[in-house]
């Protein structure tokens, strides 16, 4: 009989549930996709229900329920942090403590109660993993490596902010760690906060801003904020940070150091923020490279697995990849805390019955990270017929040909296929696609679909076998977690010149390469390499597009409007299609063109309902 283990991460941000069957991930999803609350930290009731339904089981069928971290260890860190934070943290402490005393310090009991409320059978009592152990298990066990160095870097777990593990078959051994309050994730978040973006979600924006700036503050950061040792370890100078007191990341000391106040959210972005972003990015890359080098030294392995929020910094990942210090790198697609749900379950499962053998022709055990809900043709047809939305149904070959032809004509296509992605990136299951060669595509997608003038370019999805024609990429990047330079052969003449392209803010729409929609101002791109194994329908579409145009690259951006979680169900995809100026919606084999759709009237304007991100 199959052994099922349920993993849960919750109550911080991006709650999630994951189900592992005989040591293999079979279902996983973030709660936000069901509740439609971005980064929802609530108990992942709907994600758990989905996981159980995906396998047709109840809570009675579970061997174990594992919570992603140890609440008591976390509590001790919180207390210790307030102790060192001084009198300034008193108010926040007094406000926060009742919740800790009522349920947070004994969150496992709370989880048990919530599981009971689900009325889906009797679950085994919830047990705790450890935050970084969960990250490490998610990074190593599904990876293609028998043995590997495993590096986890995040903001903070219980005490650890950085850990090195030695992954050996069915074993994960903690080799070393760096503990709170020293955290490169918190350093990056502190700069995110200082630049006026939201902590835990605005870090992407800072990373996107970096190429517009010069790292003129990097020396100041190295001299004052962080002490990076030759052995890869680091500490932060706590006199500049205020997160010990739990209220805000930085304050007057930080403002004084950088000679200006914290930027007000939504106020205009200046060159200064770009330079700050470039500086913190540069230092982060140095720290990450130092830590990864230490991981290799301390384990004697040359294959590297990565997880933790900092592993979502795809620019830093690109630096690791190009450094030549590692034979191969594998990054858990749900590298943030949502992925801890999966890691917690995997860790238990592997301890219980060993690590399952990876099928010889598989590149990892993540199934392309397509672990979320899927909707069959029948369900989609029923939805369309019930609502009388006009559509055309295609057979397989006809579908790819039709969509490729619409893309080649310049259409923006909502692409909804199969099971939803687990992790923050859209990988061709819930994606909005466009022609990357089209010089207008970036602007069109920003203004007509995402409703923002972004400084972040869109990402390219490319057939893995053709990736080298467009990008200087050393290895596969199936989960869009590596940034790589575009090749010289596709750079525009201006970009090839020594002075390089213009890099100022506002130059986002300049033509820098033959793939203008996906080429950032520093001539890089956040690449997704697509294979039939990871996502067959997306591969067939790319092949069809290549047959028609000679180009095997498409713009791939997440299927949502700004501030909204990625769509999960057909009705959400349809609503997003009608709220925006998308031209075509593809739901499975059903193709919907905008002209002819009935007027889409909503009781409340979504712009007022969905907060800005």
């Amino acid at each position: 009989m199959a052994i099922y283990v349920l993993g849960i991460s919750a109550f911080y941000h991006d709650s999630a549930a994951a189900l592992v069957k005989d040591g293999v991930p079979v279902a996983a999803a973030q709660e936000e996709r069901f509740t439609r609350v971005r980064h929802d930290p609530a108990f992942p009731a709907q994600a758990i229900a989905y996981c159980l339904d995906a396998e047709g089981i109840t809570l009675d069928d579970l061997e174990a329920v594992v919570y992603y971290e140890d609440p008591q260890e976390k509590f001790s860190r919180v207390i210790s942090s307030f102790a060192s934070g001084g009198i300034g943290g008193a108010r926040t402490f007094i406000n926060a403590m009742p919740e800790w005393i009522r349920w947070k310090w004994n969150v496992l009991k709370f989880v048990d109660e919530q599981l009971e409320i689900l009325s889906r059978g009797k679950a085994p009592r919830t047990q705790a993993s450890q935050h970084h152990r969960s990250h490490a298990a998610a990074a190593f066990y599904p990876s293609p490596f028998k043995n590997a160095a495993v590096l986890c870097i995040d903001g903070i777990g219980e005490w650890h902010s950085t850990t090195i593990w030695h992954g050996k078959g069915s074993n994960l051994e903690l080799k070393n760690s760096i503990s709170y309050p020293h955290s490169v994730g918190l350093l990056y978040s502190a700069m995110t906060y200082y630049c006026g973006f939201k902590v835990d979600s605005g870090e992407y924006k800072l990373m996107g801003l970096a190429p517009y700036g010069q790292p003129i503050y990097a020396d100041k950061i190295r001299d004052e904020l962080i002490n990076i040792r030759e052995d890869g370890s680091f500490t932060l100078n706590m006199k500049y940070f205020e997160y010990l007191r739990g209220e805000r990341m930085v304050g007057e000391a930080f403002e004084e150091l950088f000679g200006g106040p914290i930027r007000q959210p939504e106020s205009p972005i200046s060159q200064r923020e770009c330079d700050l972003a470039a500086s913190i990015q540069k230092v982060t890359e140095e720290v990450v490279l130092g830590l990864a080098t230490a991981a290799v030294k301390q384990t004697g392995e040359r294959n590297l697995c990565l997880a933790g929020g900092v592993a979502l910094n795809c620019v830093a990942n690109g630096v690791l990849s190009r450094s030549g210090r590692f034979d191969s790198i594998w990054i858990q697609p749900a590298a943030g805390d949502a992925g801890c749900a999966l890691g917690a379950a995997l860790d238990f499962a592997v301890k219980h019955s060993g690590r399952p053998h990876l099928d010889g022709n598989k590149s990892d055990a993540m199934s392309g990270s397509l672990l979320g809900p899927g909707f069959g043709d029948e369900e989609i047809a029923q939805f369309l017929l019930e609502n009388q939305y006009p559509f055309t149904r295609y057979d397989d070959a006809g579908l790819y040909d039709q969509v490729a032809s619409r893309l080649a004509e310049g259409a923006v296509v909502g692409w909804f296929q199969g099971r939803m992605e687990f992790g923050p990136r859209a990988l061709g299951a819930r994606s909005i696609l466009g022609d990357a060669r089209n010089p207008e595509m970036q602007r069109t997608m920003n203004l007509k679909i995402k409703y923002r003038e972004s400084f972040r370019p869109f990402a390219p999805a490319v057939l893995a076998e053709d990736a080298g024609n467009y990008f200087d990429i050393c290895e596969k990047s199936p989960y869009m977690l590596m940034v790589a330079p575009v090749t010289d052969s596709i750079k525009s003449q201006q970009s090839r010149q020594e002075s390089g392209p213009e890099r100022g803010l506002g130059s986002i729409n300049n033509i820098r390469s033959q793939l203008p929609a996906v080429t950032h101002v520093d001539l890089s791109a956040r690449v997704q390499t697509v294979t039939e194994e990871n996502n067959a329908p997306f591969t067939y579409l790319l092949r069809s597009f290549k047959e028609r145009t000679g180009c095997s690259v498409l713009v791939n951006t997440s299927f949502n409007v700004r501030g909204e979680p990625i769509v999960c169900k057909p009705e959400e995809a349809y609503a997003c299609f009608m709220r925006t100026e998308m031209d075509v919606l593809v739901l499975g084999r059903y193709v919907l063109e905008r002209p002819g759709q009935p007027a889409f009237v909503e009781a409340v304007d979504w712009r007022s309902e969905i907060p800005l991100d």
Binding site: F82, I87, I178, K239, A294
Partner: protein, 47 residues
């Protein structure tokens, strides 16, 4: 009630701990740790 308990805990336990730490620079929160030769929890030499 819980808030009062938290207040007491802050005054009686946390503040003295924090004061001791800042006087003796005896924790990883302090300046001395920031200047230590390594920040690894386990000395790298032993590995």
């Amino acid at each position: 009630m819980l808030r009062f308990l938290a207040f007491l805990m802050f005054i009686v336990v946390l503040l003295p701990i924090g004061l001791t730490r800042s006087v003796f620079h005896s924790s990883r929160f302090g300046r001395r740790f920031h200047q230590a030769p390594t920040a690894w929890d386990h000395s790298v030499n032993k590995l």
